[in-house]
Subunit: 322 residues, 2 copies
């Protein structure tokens, strides 16, 4: 393979001149530039990105940390993040952290070492003390106390909309069905929005929660079904929780939507082939993904961002369960 | 940040000695090694991977080319590929090619330039002439004529099993419902296995195919429904085709499984919350992913592989549609 020296030699210029042409930096006379370009073409010279990174000490790689790509919400998010990065000439490194803090911290170390230019992370672990401020990190959903910018759907508004839609569908006593993470997460605002709206409208309501992750799923749903027989609406913290509740309710002889109206959160169903089609608060996944990339690249360029949390509006999508 | 020179200076040794300790190459006296390690710790020195790649001209990065990560089969595959690579100390670069040949070729160029150590690709394009032999590439599903190793599920056996299961479920005249790609693909063996088994058992059958991608989905299914009213079994080339057929059949007043038994291929449903739960030929996704990684890393090490195509056994999973 030919080297930058071969190009310089053929073009009759210095190596530095070739480098300036390739990297489009510094002044080079048009006639010289043409000579260099002709030599590059003649030799079929390919600039070595590894070598260039070494000189510029800068990577065009962004790491994406997800609990698992094998989940429809995360894979849709990854799809749009990769697409937006590609438009900007960046590559995506994928890491399934499996929720393991040590695997997440490893990637933050890579960031310190300039091996990646930035990190987009979805983590529910308390790794806050290991993460410093002002470095190129965007968090999705998880709102750190420190100044790590977070992009999230408008969870509070989503909770309010869910309560209103349950009432509109005829629910007189709706319940919130969820889990609580050990550290603060934006997803907690789903319950807060729900509770806020129920109080505002004077609607009696139930909040049923267990620490995340649920140890005994069977018991979680059975306890809810036995303890709250009078509820006629459910707002579940995720679509998967909604779908699981519907299955358990069916086994207990409860019909959805006839006896209980159900609304989920996420919008993971992207085609209407499998049933029940959930009524849900749809996350603006594409907008969240593109916003996260744009904000991250601003940080990479050294810009200071205006906000700590960017909340993207959600929409309600009616399915077969309300 | 401290440099390798700072470490050498503090330890009172040459830079080359520090490098040998870090890379675990060459002889270093235990006492010297301890001094270097103490200096590394004292200075909190982090070896720069970019610089190291430059010297070794070798990347620990594998590129994964997928049509789209936003598809349950591909996201499950990516999940296990990343997991297996992680065990071997490699990182995964993700590329949604969107089926665009130019995007795929870009990553093969990166391979030529040592920016990635190897490529795992799922492509249905005819990029064969642009890809040379003997370089670290593993193809999934797509069998190139040249010696690019392919890992795939046993599609032929899958087709045979599907036919037998349809007959066992009571079908007297089953149909194969599929599409044909312009270049040879291993997935074509699904039809061949189906046809082979029908002939072997003396069962009358129908093959219905259109070129991939289908231009007018509405017309594709309507023509099939009108032209083949006497069929009572369907083996669809993918689960999504099966699910779409079931929806269209329902609109035409055909009940599944009462009137027509349906079997898909893939096994994309990993929890029984959404219906119909498809009867399907389940791809051995985890085994395919791990095999692809292991074979690729052998190629990266310069080994020659025994086979051109590695076919992993499939299993039949009964759902609600047979």
């Amino acid at each position: 393979m030919s080297s930058i020296k071969d190009v310089a030699s053929l073009a009759g210029v210095a190596v530095g001149t070739v480098s300036r042409v390739i990297n489009n930096t510094g002044a080079v006379k048009p006639v010289t530039r043409d000579k260099v370009k002709a030599a590059i073409e003649a030799l079929n010279y390919v600039p070595n990105e590894v070598a260039r990174n070494f000189k510029m000490q800068r990577s065009k790689m962004i790491a994406l940390l997800l609990p698992s790509i094998w989940h429809p919400f995360f894979s849709e998010l990854a799809y749009y993040i990769e697409d937006e990065l590609d438009l900007e000439g960046f590559k995506l490194m994928l890491c399934n952290s499996g929720g393991k803090p040590e695997k997440e911290l490893y990637y933050f170390d890579m960031l310190k070492q300039n091996k990646v230019a930035g990190v987009i992370g979805i983590t529910y672990n308390d790794i806050e003390n290991s993460v410093s401020t002002d470095i190129p990190i965007i968090s999705i959903d998880r709102h750190f106390n420190k100044k790590i910018t977070c992009v999230t759907s408008d969870n509070f508004e989503g909770g309010r909309v869910a309560l209103r839609e349950l009432v509109k569908a005829g629910a007189k006593k709706p319940a919130f069905l969820g889990t609580v993470t050990s550290v603060y997460s934006e997803t907690m605002l789903r319950r807060e929005g729900f509770v806020h709206e129920a109080k505002a409208l004077g609607v009696p309501f139930v909040v049923y929660e267990e620490p995340d992750p649920i140890r005994d799923e069977e018991q979680y749903y059975n306890t809810f079904l036995q303890r709250h027989k009078d509820i006629d609406g459910v707002f579940a913290i995720t679509d998967m929780t909604a779908a699981t509740y519907i299955e358990k309710a069916k086994q207990a002889g409860i019909r959805v939507p006839e006896d209980v109206k159900v609304i989920g959160y996420d919008g993971i169903q992207d085609h209407p082939l499998f049933h029940p089609i959930l009524s849900t608060i749809r996350q603006p996944v594409e907008e969240m993904a593109r916003a996260a990339v744009r904000l991250l690249l601003k940080k990479v360029e050294g810009e200071t961002l205006d906000l700590e949390v960017y909340r993207i509006p959600v929409t309600y999508r009616e399915g077969e369960t309300t």
